[in-house]
């Protein structure tokens, strides 16, 4: 795993090393991190990185979100939830169904906009951004891993991963080259030409992880990333994410029911009834930051 990680770094870093070299911080230890945080647009990457050094990667204040089910019938998905995630953390959001954890993820991930409250990603307030700006933010700052049926069924593993980079504006050839590196990173380079239907559940999730990483986002969101997997495969996927988090400093926010996922994370945020109920920070988090 670690071996392939550094080969990925070497293979893809030349152009991006130039972009990030002047601000590289040896103490932070992350040439790998610099590679993964550099965006396709150089200037934006600099800005992103600068803000990341200074503040939390995610800051959420008093989020309120209601969904309309019908006339005079609303569901309060979030009732004033707040949280903070520091750069490089791996955080689990847990809670019973209907506690608002998925809504929280959708709002932080710029898939939806809150009724009130603020979402600040890398120092940038997402409220007031237009659809197109949200799309750009989504494709460059965040990556998503969903539960099962995550991939486009008519595209090969490689094409699925490359798709996200193409959406972000990278030319097809470059997208595919980068996708190939990432498939190697998650350990399924040999399955690159296969369709999702020819891949096991674990392999599909690895493809989804590679896809989430391809635009070098600062945050990767997982919505029940181990939801459809058996225990052994689930452990593998957790370990892949954990390694990437440690090696690259990419922040992970995982919405999950799986206690093993929560256990592997630095921190567990418990939600109930649209609020953050408990924010527990195990001792070992100190070694990360």
């Amino acid at each position: 795993m670690l071996g392939s990680m550094s080969s990925y770094t070497l293979a893809t870093s030349d152009r991006h090393r130039q972009l990030t070299a002047p601000t590289r911080d040896p103490k932070n230890g992350s040439s790998t991190r610099a590679v993964l945080t550099a965006n396709t647009a150089g200037a934006k990457a600099e800005k992103t990185r600068a803000t990341r050094m200074n503040g939390p990667v995610i800051e959420v204040r008093n989020l309120v979100k209601r969904y309309r089910l019908g006339k005079n019938n609303h569901v309060h998905a979030l009732r004033g939830a707040s949280l903070r995630v520091e750069a490089g953390e791996m955080v689990a959001i847990v809670g019973p169904s209907g506690s608002g954890k998925s809504t929280m993820m959708h709002l932080i991930g710029c898939l939806d906009t809150p009724d009130s409250g603020d979402v600040i990603i890398n120092g940038r307030r997402t409220g007031g951004l237009k659809g197109r700006e949200l799309t750009t933010l989504r494709s460059t700052e965040v990556g998503f891993i969903f539960q099962g049926f995550n991939l486009v069924p008519t595209m090969t593993a490689l094409e699925n991963v490359a798709l996200a980079a193409e959406y972000a504006g990278l030319p097809r050839r470059a997208s595919r080259a980068r996708a190939a590196d990432l498939l190697e990173l998650v350990g399924i380079a040999d399955r690159a030409g296969h369709l999702p239907s020819e891949l096991s559940g674990g392999q599909q999730q690895r493809v989804a992880i590679a896809r989430a990483l391809i635009n070098r986002p600062s945050i990767v969101f997982g919505d029940e990333p181990t939801g459809d997997l058996d225990t052994a495969t689930s452990d593998e996927i957790i370990s892949v994410m954990r390694t990437i988090n440690r090696e690259t400093g990419t922040t992970f926010v995982l919405v999950t029911h799986n206690p093993e996922v929560a256990e592997a994370c630095d921190r567990t945020i418990r939600m109930r009834d649209g609020r953050v109920e408990d924010d527990e920070r195990p001792a070992r988090v100190a070694t990360i930051a």
Partner: protein, 386 residues
């Protein structure tokens, strides 16, 4: 490639939808091929009549009129503005035929040769030579007739029971001359006489017979005006200028064209409704996929393009198969018609490109509504969709 794979995700449905377009394009191609051929015939006619005044017996209508006297030539050439008059005798190749076929009947035309040098578009021979003054017992064949009669230059052919030597075969014109046997006026008069009941022959002066006289205008004289002055000065005849033909046939062609293309377009519209239906279902089935695409950064435009492209592929596939089937049907119909010498269909480049282009356009237009629907889906709702 991805687009094509997506279209064929549901093979049966894709094929049925494409088939809907195929039928529409097939109708468009076959009926259009008929319209194209007929239009070409009319254009040929317009060109043929374009520079002259056609004089027929006042009792007749159309080119196959009652007999006219060759002696009228002198009278016609004396009319102010007339340069030359030339008599011709036309009859059906097959006297038994009623002449009621669509398209162009096979004809025999005998000309006196006086028109030579005055025609604006003279027929050229692909093989052999054209008719000359003083020719007797020889014919020049139109290209379709030559094929049908299996004739060659130098060989003999039988026309209405008499033997003639083929001295030339004309170039393909795709209009009337392709179906015509050309001979001298005298030979044609002889054939005409053969066909008259014996009892009446004595009263007919064969050497005086013709069915129409073409009058060519002097340089700078408008043939339409010439037709009017001929009509005013010469009795017992009808003089038609070039426009008479255009008006008579042209307006009929317009109606004919609109009916033909109307039917084809209606069937294509039905096909496009089925494309809209298919694309809408396809969007509904792939709601979650659209949500995922949006989550990983697909813009509104990217989703639009994806579905419009799929719809265009359906249109294109339908267009190609429809065109291919249409070409096969046209070939079969023409092969069937070849025996009777009527090739009624012709696929022109314009028709082929137009049909294909229209099918693609229809696909694109049909795809716009479903694609807009897909692009406007909220990512969160789409992701929750099961």
């Amino acid at each position: 490639m991805g687009v094509i794979r997506n279209v064929f995700r549901r093979k049966m449905r894709a094929f049925l939808t494409i088939f809907g377009i195929t039928i529409g394009v097939l109708a468009l191609v076959v009926m259009g091929a008929m319209a194209e051929k007929l239009n070409l015939l009319v254009d040929g006619g317009i060109r043929y009549y374009g520079d002259k005044v056609t004089v027929t017996d006042s009792g007749a209508n159309g080119a196959l009129g009652g007999p006219l006297s060759v002696t009228k030539i002198k009278e016609l050439e004396d009319v102010e503005g007339a340069a030359r008059a030339s008599a011709s005798l036309s009859m059906l190749l097959d006297p038994e035929s009623t002449g009621g076929t669509i398209g162009v009947p096979q004809m025999i035309t005998g000309t006196d040769g006086r028109q030579r040098g005055y025609e604006s578009s003279e027929l050229k021979c692909a093989e052999g030579r054209n008719l000359q003054l003083g020719d007797k017992g020889v014919v020049v064949l139109g290209s379709d007739l030559a094929t049908k009669l299996d004739a060659e230059v130098g060989k003999e052919v039988t026309v209405r029971g008499r033997q003639f030597e083929v001295v030339g075969i004309t170039e393909r014109t795709l209009t009337a001359p392709d179906q015509t046997v050309m001979m001298s006026l005298a030979d044609a008069q002889q054939l005409y006489l053969d066909d008259i009941p014996e009892a009446m022959r004595a009263s007919v002066d064969a050497a005086d017979l013709c069915t129409s006289i073409a009058v060519f205008a002097r340089d700078g004289v408008d043939p339409e005006k010439l037709a009017v002055s001929i009509g005013n000065t010469v009795t017992g005849i009808t003089a038609s200028g070039p426009r008479a033909f255009e008006e008579q046939v042209g307006s009929q062609m317009k109606i004919f064209n609109s009916i033909i293309y109307g039917i084809a377009l209606v069937s294509l519209l039905v096909g496009s409704l089925s494309v809209i239906n298919t694309m809408t279902m396809s969007v509904a089935e792939r709601t979650r996929e659209i949500g995922i695409r949006k989550a990983i950064g697909a813009t509104h435009g990217a989703i639009m393009r994806q579905f419009v492209a799929e719809s265009a592929v359906i249109g294109f596939a339908g267009g190609v198969t429809g065109l291919a089937l249409g070409a096969a049907v046209v070939a079969a119909l023409n092969a069937g018609g070849a025996a009777s010498g009527t090739m009624l269909f012709m696929i022109t480049t314009r028709l082929a490109v137009g049909s294909l282009g229209f099918a693609v356009l229809l696909g694109v237009v049909s795809g716009i509504y479903p694609a807009l629907h897909a692009a406007n889906l909220s990512p969160v709702k789409a992701l929750r969709y099961e």
